[in-house]
Symmetry: C2
């Protein structure tokens, strides 16, 4: 055997190298400046995490589950159910959510609850829903129709239905003739749709001899589950296996058309916005910058007329945010702003229209429009390089008008290497993007990685979204997340489209990181949370308020955590 | 619209940034110094590649396939069948294969062909193979028994069979009572097992009224397919879905026990070694450093006695290599060396035995033993840090004895972040490893990445192995491959265990890279091939010979390529 001193020297050299590398990390400053309470909490948290990995994710003989596994598999294995780590993650203050698409943020059951209360809500399909096969192949849409608008009285589930005609949502819902899609495979609906089926629902759903009133209720629930299945990527019996990004996007894109008609109605829009803020507040998120897709010209007013224009959407958004803020009488910070977006399949002429529309809205509501972005499936859609003339003109126009509408571009949400979606990173950076949405392919670019760090551009990484949309098999093999974090490139974890993925808030993404990475600690999550505030697009004064609010909440969290788990250190 | 000059300035800035980043890449020197023939070939090759992506991997409306997709899916979509890119990749000289496990390198059908000719070959199972269920749950082993050794005459497929007793391989093969496992799902066997079922096999296999001789032949073929299924990860009807690394390793590890008894027989061992070199030569590989696992104490001699020790394995290896070399009378370079390995579940005491065994073999065959490694599933097995005392002692012993046996450690073949398998990278580097096997987690370590580059440590990346064993969903999302290549960290693509994965040679891994990455060109592949020679563990003089041989073959390849495809440039 080598002398003890040689072994010791090697061990010390390894420790020194690890320390040297750890000093480059994003959480190094936080770990070097812990209060004694934070130090205790951090130690306990790591212990709880390690225990939870062992008891829940790496059980002896369990080859199916692993820490950080795919989101739906993880949910099946209990992710989101109370556990020590989950409870703590859920409770900790998480700062700002910087990347979520407005129409993909709130639980779809909220939209369904509102649709059920909206008498004028109508439904249509492009085929007769007379077979189970048609049910899942159809393009289904919802819309609130004006008073007196014509509606077919034919059942959408029969051969008499004329495809494309509107029918009553209420009738379609209550006469839904198909089984509950989340029960088709014999598993429990609650299991697949957490929080979706009311816990007060009758247990007799699988029972043959139910009272007629229950039958209607069951049909309604089965319909709700069907609508839920149309609006989410949550696996169910009739959803074909998704094995790659192209398949995931095909299903993903179809969900927005279903959601559009439910959300695009003034009273729902306002209620949805309020729920967005409230649900984020419940998850410890103080502030949200949400990307609103202004591609549609108009939404539907309360009276059913379809002429609610962009400036009125923003007005409603502001009203909703202000009403929620007024409700928070405890002094907690809560707020949201808008990033104006349109979709990257338009031409330059149309883009100019949207850019001018954005400028118009910014002038109307200068505090509320904080950035501009182009969204959509990067691989097949148009690259930023196509839009350079108009994007440069926009920068010039903003300068002339004295407006600050920075770009916050999606870029590098791709597996391609050297193709257009990957090359969007170059254009985004040289267009002075303030943040980058996704940047899945960024860590492959050594020079761009350094530039992003130097220019202090924050990368909005959406681990669960990236996994579900086929860019990584799990958070553990994400092409950029850990590489960027370890290089101290600014990263903000984000949820992207939780309506569709069901990773509501930030707790799921935070949990997947902490459970899968032994290098990550409570202080790492705290660093991510606090830093997210730094990369918001608000003025410095507002940031100061947010920081102070976060610090206060963090201290409260640490106090709660030690009260709850302090005993662990004594064990 | 912005002025043309502003747009031009942006476009130029993007081009400059791209060029600046490209200058950091591994292929930059090669691309900057092309001969005019290389320049033409490179342009044509990129054009053929782009066309093949469009025609084969990104067909309109095809959501199933994509360039760089999982290996078995890709094979189903034609990977390995003649195509312009495949033919060129297959034909190009690929230099050295630096990472393959000896008992996992040659096509398993080669072993089966030899088993069929080995009268003394026996088979056993730990359960009666009397049901299809048992067939797939059993642990099956093969072994050549000495003359006169007792064998059960009971059929292994009946209730009379006593589990654990040896039966005749020939009888078991010819009386196999189950259907061809690759036909169970109604698909074509050839499809799933390329080159496995002889193309001259009778087509009447699915036909009910076959002649008795065909029945025996069919039973034998079905048995061969069963044995093939036991030795590979190739999907078939009875193989449960593999969704993560733990499941993949469970199946992967089981294959070696089946292979062991077929390969561990002197005549087969020698023939296998020759086939290893020859099959690599056919794939354009001139030189192989193969890791031989010396965990087993003895193999079986030609006369069936099981006392063939380590030094005799090496002797047989050398004889085989020399015989193949003698066959190559055209002056082409062909050679192979041994990296001594044992498995990382042993204790330090046992490790010392292996290290001394390695030293003994090095003294006996100084040219042939070129390195030492510890192998096995890194996540659950022991980390390098456990073995430091003995590894340091070994270095000291080698110094005293004047022997050069560098470490070439597996490290970072993991999805874990900050756990032991990931931390193996620190130990490996500080133990002066000459190369690193896998390094899947390396790119997440900024300091180690820089150190590896500075110390000129080559990373043996095995993209298809990493995908099949659950470390990445496809080559496109590999956590380190492109990140390291773009930083010009030395990388050698490797096959790892092609017997089991069926990515024989290097063509499959090269193809997956070139087809999935638009940044990769013919000259990139040439750089990888030529560079692999640099990181071999032979002396400088031999390297010079290899380089010269590669250059000659490369020029021949370019001449062939231009003759074959020169017309493309004129189109």
């Amino acid at each position: 055997m080598a002398s003890q001193s040689a072994t010791d020297a090697h061990t010390q050299a390894v420790a020194a190298l690890k320390a040297q590398e750890a000093a480059l990390r994003y959480d190094h400053a936080a770990l070097s400046n812990m209060s004694s309470d934070e130090e205790r909490a951090n130690t306990i948290f790591t212990r709880l995490r390690d225990a939870e990995v062992t008891s829940q994710w790496a059980k002896d003989g369990d080859l199916t589950n692993f820490a950080g596994m795919d989101f739906y598999g993880a949910r099946k294995n209990g992710l989101g159910s109370p556990s020590e780590v989950w409870n703590a993650v859920r409770r900790m203050p998480k700062g700002a959510l910087l990347h979520c698409h407005f129409d993909g943020t709130v639980d779809t059951k909220f939209l369904l609850e509102h649709a059920k209360k909206t008498k004028k809500m109508a439904m249509k399909a492009d085929v007769r829903l007379s077979t189970a096969d048609a049910l899942w192949k159809a393009t289904v849409e919802f819309l609130v129709l004006p008073e007196g608008a014509e509606r077919s009285t034919k059942s959408i589930y029969t051969e008499e239905y004329v495809p494309g005609e509107w029918v009553s949502f209420e009738e379609a819902r209550e006469s839904f003739p198909y089984p509950h899609p989340y029960e088709m495979d014999g598993t429990d609906a609650e299991h697949h749709m957490p929080n979706f089926v009311s816990t007060s629902a009758p247990n007799g759903r699988l029972n043959g001899d139910k009272a007629p009133s229950n039958v209607a209720q069951d049909k309604g629930q089965a319909f709700d589950a069907y609508a839920h299945a149309l609006m989410t990527l949550t696996p169910h019996q009739a959803l074909p296996a998704i094995t790659n990004s192209k398949q995931a996007w095909a299903k993903f894109q179809s969900t927005f058309g279903v959601i559009a008609g439910l959300i695009g109605y003034e009273p729902t829009l306002k209620a949805y916005t309020k729920e967005l803020l409230r649900s984020h507040a419940r998850d410890g998120i103080s502030y949200t910058e949400t990307r609103i897709n202004f591609l549609t010209d108009f939404m539907v007013r309360a009276d059913g007329t379809p002429n609610l224009d962009h400036s009125e959407w923003v007005r409603i958004f502001i009203e909703a945010v202000n009403e929620v803020k007024a409700d928070f009488t405890d002094g907690s910070f809560v707020d949201a702003k808008i990033i104006y977006t349109t979709v990257r399949f338009i031409d330059n002429e149309k883009l100019r229209w949207y850019l001018e529309d954005c400028i118009m809205l910014k002038k109307l509501y200068p505090e509320w429009i904080v950035g501009f972005d182009l969204v959509g499936h990067e691989d097949p859609l148009l690259p930023l390089k196509v839009y350079i003339p108009e994007l440069l003109r926009f920068q010039q126009r903003c300068k002339e008008e004295g407006l600050s509408i920075p770009f916050v571009f999606h870029a590098g949400e791709t597996l391609e290497d050297g193709a257009d979606a990957d090359l969007n990173l170059y254009d985004a950076i040289l267009l002075d993007t303030k943040r980058i949405g996704h940047g899945v392919s960024l860590a492959r670019h050594p020079l761009l990685t350094d530039m992003v760090k130097e220019k202090d551009i924050c990368i909005e990484i959406c681990p669960i979204s990236n996994q579900i949309l086929g860019y990584t098999a799990s958070i553990c093999s994400h092409p950029s997340l850990l590489a960027l974090l370890n290089r101290n490139v600014p990263v903000a974890l984000s949820s992207d489209d939780p309506s569709i993925f069901e990773n509501f808030g930030l707790s799921y993404d935070f949990y997947q990181l902490i459970i899968s990475s032994q290098s990550t600690s409570l202080m790492s999550l705290a660093t991510l949370a606090r830093r997210s505030i730094r990369y918001t697009l608000v003025d410095d004064k507002t940031k100061e308020i947010m920081f102070a609010d976060w610090d206060r909440r963090w201290n409260e969290f640490i106090a709660w955590f030690l009260k709850e788990y302090g005993h662990v250190l004594k064990q």
